[in-house]
Amino acid sequence: MSLLTGSRHPGDEDLIRYMDHQLDREAHRIMGAHLRTCAACTARLEGYERKSATVSEWLHLLPAAMPDDGKRAVALAAVDRARFRRRGVASFSSTPMRAAAAVVLFLAVTLATEPGRAFVAHGVVKLAGPGPVSTRLAEWLGQDEVLHEQRTLAAADAPVAAPLPSVAAAPRVETPSARPAAPEPPRPRIKPGMSAPVTFTPAGPDVTLVFNSVQGVGAATLWIKDVPRANGQVVTHYAGEGLVPTRDGLEVRNTARSNGDYIITIPSRFRFIRVRVADSPEILIRISKSKQEWIWTINLQTSALQ
């Protein structure tokens, strides 16, 4: 501000900043004090205020251009594509995914060679000991001798006073009946990803989508397209969530703690989509008034149709 740098009168840029309340408090105070005593600068300021009002008035004569629904839908679809694309990239670029990819690559390279398979079998037997899991893995890898070697070493190391040393030292021959019951395999942990598509064909003219609960995170994107059969898919973080075809449409079995996203494609031949999210009021989408490739997004936090 030129007033603060010693000039006698403020420059035009200072007047504009004063008029737009863009000066800091102290500069605004100094400017105000000057304007109270300087008729010339006050006149300049009033001139700019008049010009600003005139220009603003004229600018509002330009048509209040609003995008039509088509432009808005196209833009929203592009944003949705970017979101899903980013999530896909982000999930693969995360540290756990990179680590997993490195492990898979290492195993693929290792298991392709005989020394590699022996290395893996040795490692597993050494870590887990000669149990049913390592036995099966070694058999699968064609590395039975690794097991024998390990058992021989174990027998040699066994204490003499151990009961029934002959039994302990001898390689145990396992028969299906003698083999101890294999422990229950751990329940596979579903990792984030994309569920298999679930197709459904409602019996009536309507498609009903029911979300069991309001989610903490996530959204449902409804695509209305010319497709023979409707289908739904959970995208990312679908542990504990499921899609179940019903007579009227599709039931999304989620919980309030779910955080998946859903893509549901509806054939355009249906007349309505009824969407119900937990206890929220039902949303009715008239497909006959929608365009092809139309996209609706339901924010599951608010269950408001967007």
């Binding site: 420059g11 035009d12 840029e13 200072d14 007047l15 504009i16 900043r17 737009d20 863009q22 700019y48 008049r50 010009k51 600003s52 005139t54 220009v55 603003s56 004229w58 600018l59 004569l61 330009l62 048509p63 209040a64 251009a65 609003m66 995008p67 039509d68 432009k71 808005r72 196209v74 833009a75 929203l76 592009a78 944003v79 970017a82 979101r83 980013r86 982000a90 995170v217 959204a219 997004t297 924010n299 967007q306």
Partner: protein, 169 residues
């Protein structure tokens, strides 16, 4: 960051305003729609870390308009175009006031077109209520220069519009 931003909500809040600003800036509804869409896609792909989202969207869309090759071609047309070019926008004039409204819009559009790119940008962003430092970010200048550009743009535009102001009212 994208997880923290509710992009759909932001889209609903800001898309129409951004589009309106871009139509005023460019006079081209298609270009405005393209730039607005690109700004929101970039919001998803490279969200701002520490800036106000609305200002960021306007700055990005302004740069998209300025930088894309398509925009450059159209921009040259705009800079050299005749004042007779029809005003753009999706909402056309109704049959009743078509002639008068069209004449007024033509005058404003022509006056806007005679401003430089930066002058037009700062004036329209100011009209949208942005602070000078946000406008400065968008046009790549200092906050102090924004005041100078606004003063210059107001003087030019008022000079252009004042003679016709009375005759059209």
């Amino acid at each position: 960051m994208e997880e923290r931003l509710n992009v759909t909500q932001l889209f609903l809040q800001h898309y129409d305003g951004l589009y309106r600003y871009l139509v005023r800036l460019t006079g081209d509804a298609d270009l405005a729609a393209d730039a607005a869409q690109e700004a929101f896609v970039r919001l998803v792909e490279r969200p701002p870390q520490d800036r106000h989202v609305r200002a960021w969207l306007f700055a990005v869309a302004t740069n998209v308009v300025r930088d894309t090759a398509r925009a450059r071609v159209r921009w040259m047309t705009l800079l050299t175009g005749s004042p007779d070019r029809a005003p753009m926008g999706d909402v056309g004039p109704g049959p009743d006031d078509a002639a008068e409204s069209a004449e007024r819009r033509k005058v404003v559009r022509a006056a806007l077109d005679r401003l430089s790119w930066k002058e037009r940008t700062v004036l329209l962003m100011r009209e949208e209520g942005f602070a000078h430092h946000e406008i400065a970010d968008a046009v790549g200048t200092t906050t102090g220069s924004v005041g100078t550009m606004i003063a210059r743009a107001l003087n030019k535009l008022a000079g252009e519009l004042a003679p016709t102001s009375e005759s059209l009212r």
